[in-house]
């Protein structure tokens, strides 16, 4: 098993999904436990893989290779390195917690658990495959596999405008990924011999003009996923309509697929083009940071506020990527992980409140701090992490990103820091409206957060605190790979 550990990680959820399908529809508790067990096993497998992962090595590890469609030289090629492994770990963690969250949330629609958990587990396979595939064709397949379950999960279990949001999400992402498919085919046909294998493709030189065109094609696919301004408007709609656990996955994992794509494919395949597009990426990042922050400040819907804060925070990832130096890359990859844990937690907390109050209107709350002290403490914790309080993980990734981007452009960095002030403003403003002040008499009946919800949030808090105090816990795994990538881009590690 140990030699095929990555395949097990990818396909274990699929096996679980098949098991769910075989169960009778009425046995909802079986289905639930089966799904939970599956995500738990996947998490266990990921931890096992972690024990074998050699953090000091730069190249791909745990490679698995098999011919798949030999006529077109399509391979089943999976492997991991310091860039993808943190994402795999994040996926396993977020999926597990989202599944735990689902146990409480999805009971609303009785009788459709079977479809829900089937799609949920299918989604996990898609995400894992996306992060582990090293063959462009295989990557594309997994990338699209993610879309389908997501479409149904939003479209069936979502809020009042779920169909609109689901279709918007699906079509928007699909439109982007079609450009990416064209790019993949262009890379394939330009390579001699024709191949989809990243390991071979990285070694081949490409014409500068060709790089620029294909970089753009990939960019569209990834930018919509991140999402980068101005391709972000599907995100608030999808988040607001999606059920809580799906929001968590969306923010925690799916957004990272976009920035992961830059690190894994765009940068190594088109290094000269990446350098050429560096200013554009930087400007878009800064716009995203400041714009997202301002729009978040204007929100009255709790969930929409968190969604726009995601636009702002993912802007920091992009800023780090645009910096193209050691600190920028480290900050960006760390921010990808931290944003997953922090924003995932915030969405869970929005769900906790929504389940009780059935509204997300920030102006409607007030004074819940006295009524729900446990909830207040945890919400404050996640908000502080999100606004970049030192000692919690969000700070260190933003700091590294800013340090990196400072080496690249002072003006961009200075502008980006407006986003830090805005983050404090919209998050504390939210806390003020929800937790502080007089208790609205409407909410005297609300109960505090329960142990089940706390268990879902606690692991995230552990990661946020641990990485905030000692970020090397995870940076050590990332640094060799990122430094290797930097060498491909022609930069020295400074």
């Amino acid at each position: 098993m140990s030699s095929h550990i990555l395949s097990w990680i990818i396909f274990a959820p699929l096996i679980g999904a098949a098991a769910v399908l075989l169960m009778p529809k009425s046995k909802t508790s079986w289905i639930r436990w089966c799904a939970l067990l599956t995500t738990l096993i996947v998490f266990g497998l990921t931890c096992y893989a972690l024990s074998m992962f050699q953090g000091s090595r730069a190249g791909f590890q745990m490679l698995e290779k098999a011919a798949w469609i030999p006529q077109f030289n399509v391979q089943y090629l999976v492997g991991t390195d310091g860039i993808s492994f943190p994402m795999v770990f994040l996926t396993a963690l977020i999926s597990l917690l989202a599944c735990m969250g689902s146990l409480a949330h999805i009971r609303v629609k009785e009788g459709r658990e079977k479809e829900y958990y089937f799609l949920f587990l299918l989604l996990e396979t898609g995400m894992m495959g996306t992060f582990l595939a090293l063959d462009l064709f295989l990557f594309y397949i997994f990338w699209e596999v993610v879309l389908v379950p997501m479409y149904f999960l939003i479209g069936i279990w979502g809020g009042p405008r779920r169909e609109y949001a689901a279709i918007k999400f699906f079509l928007y992402t699909l439109a982007g990924s079609l450009f990416m498919l064209l790019g993949i085919l262009a890379v394939y046909f330009a390579a001699s011999p024709h191949t989809f294998s990243m390991i071979d493709l990285v070694k081949m030189p490409r014409d500068f003009f060709f790089q620029k065109i294909v970089f753009l094609a990939f960019f569209l696919g990834f930018a919509i996923k991140v999402p980068i301004f101005p391709f972000h408007t599907w995100l608030p709609d999808a988040h607001v309509e999606a059920p809580t656990p799906i929001s968590v996955i969306l923010a925690g994992v799916l957004l990272k697929m976009g920035t992961y794509g830059f690190l894994r494919f765009s940068y190594p395949l088109f290094p000269e083009a990446a350098v050429w597009f560096q200013p554009a990426m930087g400007v878009l990042a800064v716009i995203g940071i400041v714009y997202g922050g301002f729009v978040a400040l204007a929100q009255t819907d709790f969930k929409k506020m968190v969604a726009y804060s995601s636009v702002s925070h993912m802007g920091f990832v992009l800023l780090g990527l645009a910096a193209m130096n050691a600190n920028g890359f480290r900050g960006a990859l760390l921010q990808m992980f931290n944003h997953g844990t922090i924003t995932g937690g915030l969405f869970l907390l929005v769900g906790v409140l929504y389940d009780r109050a059935h509204t997300r209107d920030l102006n409607d709350f007030g004074g819940l701090g006295a009524k729900m002290p446990g909830y207040a403490g945890i919400l404050t914790f996640f908000s502080l992490a999100s606004l970049g309080l030192p000692g919690l993980s969000g700070f260190i990734s933003e700091f590294l990103t800013l340090l990196g981007s400072y080496q690249y452009s002072k003006v961009m960095t200075a502008t980006a820091t407006i986003g830090i002030i805005l983050a404090a403003a919209y998050l504390l403003y939210m806390i003020q409206r929800v937790l502080l002040g007089q208790l609205n008499p409407k909410w005297t009946g609300l109960t505090d957060i329960n142990w089940q919800e706390v268990i879902t949030l606690a692991p995230l808090m552990v990661f946020i605190l641990a990485l905030g105090i000692y970020p090397n816990l995870i940076l050590d795994y990332m640094i060799p790979t990122l430094d290797g990538l930097l060498k491909i881009l022609g930069g020295a590690v400074r």
Partner: protein
């Protein structure tokens, strides 16, 4: 024997107290306070011997790698030099006394353990900041102090004003903090280190070599770092948060908003002093900001009526003094005033808290004649006020004199005059407060004052003792030991004591006190008359120079509007484009559908219909009668013949 590495326990112990109180506070109840006080006391006993060793001329430091910045390891560690040991000495003593006092003050509060948890976290951060040896660790603890300040200002969060004050404090200081952050990023890009000692060494080298490295970049770095001071030490123009911060419990005002955290901004400049000394044009900015702050805050304090707000403005004013001193290259003077001020200002707040505790009012117009009812509180308050006003031989006199001396001897006569005027105003507003509060007749008969318990008055006396003696190390009696001690840090100019400056200082204080005494004990009508005569100045002072109104109109409202505007832009334009594309696609599909239905398919159907139509005509010929067919053949042949033979 104390080894220097034990100093790590000093911030660690309060942190443990914080963690335990936070997680187990529900069960600890009133024992939470004992835990916090014990942690702080032990930290104090660990810290003082180490500080003492530093006072003897030792120097300790140690560090370990925390993070890799590129290929440069970022090391976190502690440094025990004159600067950090002075601050550590003050913070551990004052912090412990305030916590003991808080046990009495907060008694019976439903969130008692939570209070002590936050205070312990604050102590931990403040102590980390004191001994940290690099900018990043400094910044991290700086921000955590900001968080504690936020949490404690909004401690009574059911009150809207408290919640808003916390929000305001966090956000206002964050503006400065972001400047600080970019400041040390700039510094890092200029000199490649964030470590204080390494920076000092580099600056010393540059000083000896003559030309500083990257002068422009370093000036920028120094200015941006100073932004942090402006925010945290409530300097003009970011001072607006500190008066509102008085919404927090009074021990918090004493600890965070008088003695320690707000002084951290001054400490930051002192820490970066080698940098500030070497770059041109930054110290004058520091001086100007400090002087404006000192004067403006004292001016506002003249007319305030809330006992805590008067003290808050006084704090801003005194912080302005310290900043001015640093701007005039007076590292010794600035830090000296920082230490002495911490003692007597903490005492003032605690005594004010005792008054509030005993009377349940905060407006000095409702007090009066409290001296007899609260003798301990009143006596200690007066001692602290005398120290603040600068009456010899109390501590405030020596440190204020040092600052005035820096201004005078360095030739900044205007600054000297303004500071002197400020000293006069300081003496005036403090004794206005004292005479209205403790002397005269009780003005509100509903107020039933009583003296506070011993757990509160004992710390008052301890601090009163400190306020008297803490100035001696910097006085001529001890040959200006403190200033010489500080001179080990960075080379900076020292001035000969001047009898003229001392005389001016004492005269200003005595005039202020006397004037307050005349007006508020004998001729209360004069106050009203003055207010009517100079009504513009009076309203300016009473309304805090209209800063809140100005900021609300010029910054807060535009920001909110911009947020709403961008949201509208997002919904209509950006998302409109997306939906527009969707609608356009649907429209094109509809058109194509129409074309398909009526033109493409129409053509197909037309062909069919035509065929059918023709068929319907043609089929009539197919009658099945042979004679009809023969007739058609015959006609056909006939036509053919006519055509071919051209008969017609």
């Amino acid at each position: 024997m104390v080894t220097s590495d034990q100093i790590i326990l000093v911030p660690l112990l309060p942190f443990i107290a914080f963690a335990v109180n936070l997680l187990a506070g529900r069960w600890l109840k009133h024992r939470a306070a004992w835990l916090s006080v014990a942690a702080s006391t032990i930290a104090c006993f660990i810290a003082i011997p180490v500080c003492w060793a530093v006072f003897q001329g030792n120097h300790f430091a140690n560090q370990g790698t925390w993070l890799m910045l590129g290929q440069t390891p970022l090391k976190f560690g502690y440094v025990m030099d004159p600067l950090s040991s002075s601050l550590l000495f003050m913070v551990t003593i004052v912090g412990t006394l305030i916590q003991i006092y808080a046990m009495g003050y907060m008694h019976g509060d439903p969130r008692y353990s939570r209070f002590f948890a936050y205070v312990s976290l604050f102590m931990s951060a403040m102590l980390t900041l004191s001994i940290s040896d690099n900018y990043l660790l400094f910044f991290m603890s700086w921000e955590i102090m900001g968080l504690c300040s936020y949490l404690l200002i909004g401690f009574y969060f059911e009150k809207d004003s408290a919640a808003k004050a916390g929000f305001k404090a966090f956000l206002t200081t964050r503006v400065g903090d972001v400047g600080f952050l970019i400041g040390f990023l700039t510094l890092f890009s200029a000199i490649g280190t964030l470590n204080f000692s390494e920076m000092n060494a580099l600056m010393a080298n540059a000083h000896h070599a003559g030309a500083p490295l990257h002068a422009g970049l370093l000036s920028l770095a120094a200015l941006l770092i100073f932004c942090g001071t402006i925010g945290k030490s409530a300097q003009f123009p970011l001072h607006v948060w500190l008066p509102d911060a008085m919404e927090g419990p009074t021990p918090v005002s004493a600890l965070i908003h008088a003695a320690t955290m707000v002084a951290a901004g001054v400490f930051l400049v002192a820490r970066s002093f080698s940098l500030f000394m070497i770059v041109p044009n930054v110290l004058p900015v520091v001086t100007v900001i400090g002087t404006i702050t000192a004067f403006m805050a004292a001016f506002i304090a003249l007319t305030q009526t809330d006992i805590k707000r008067i003290l808050a403005y006084s704090t801003i004013s005194q912080l302005g003094y310290m900043v001015t001193a640093l701007g005039l290259s007076g590292l010794g003077a600035g830090t000296f005033h920082l230490i002495t001020h911490a003692f007597f200002k903490a005492l003032l707040f605690m005594a004010a808290g005792s008054v509030i505790h005993g009377t349940h009012v905060q407006d000095i117009r409702e007090m009066g004649g409290l001296f007899k009812k609260m003798p301990h509180t009143a006596t200690t308050f007066i001692i602290a006020s005398l120290a603040l006003a600068g009456i010899p031989p109390l501590s405030g006199f020596w440190s204020k004199d040092e600052i005035l001396l820096s201004a005078f001897a360095s030739g900044h006569k205007i600054v000297f005059m303004i500071l002197l005027l400020t000293a006069f105003m300081t003496a005036f507003y403090m004794f206005r407060l004292i005479f209205l509060t403790f002397f005269g007749q009780p003005r509100n008969l509903k107020v039933h004052a009583h003296e506070s318990p011993a757990v509160m008055t004992a710390p008052l006396w301890a601090l009163a003792f400190g306020s008297i003696v803490i100035g001696f190390p910097g006085s001529p009696f001890m040959h200006h030991w403190f200033q010489k001690f500080m001179a080990h840090m960075v080379h900076h100019p020292e001035y000969e004591p001047s009898a003229f400056v001392m005389a001016c200082s004492v005269a200003a204080a005595v005039c202020g006190i006397s004037l307050a005494g005349v007006i508020y004990l004998k001729k209360i009508r004069w106050a009203q008359k003055t207010a009517e005569t100079f009504s513009f100045l009076y309203r300016l002072s009473l309304n805090k120079c209209y800063f809140d109104e100005l900021y609300s109109r010029c910054i807060v409202k535009p920001f909110q509007s911009l947020g709403r505007f961008l949201f509208g832009f997002d919904a209509r334009i950006v998302d409109g484009a997306v939906n527009g594309t969707g609608h356009a696609t649907l429209f094109i599909s509809a058109v194509k559908g129409w074309i398909d239905k009526y033109i493409v398919d129409g053509l197909v159907n037309f062909t069919g219909t035509l065929t059918h139509f023709l068929n319907s005509i043609v089929k009539r010929l197919q009658t099945g009668f042979v004679q009809n067919y023969l007739l058609i053949v015959f006609i056909g042949i006939l036509v053919f013949l006519v055509w071919e033979l051209k008969i017609i």
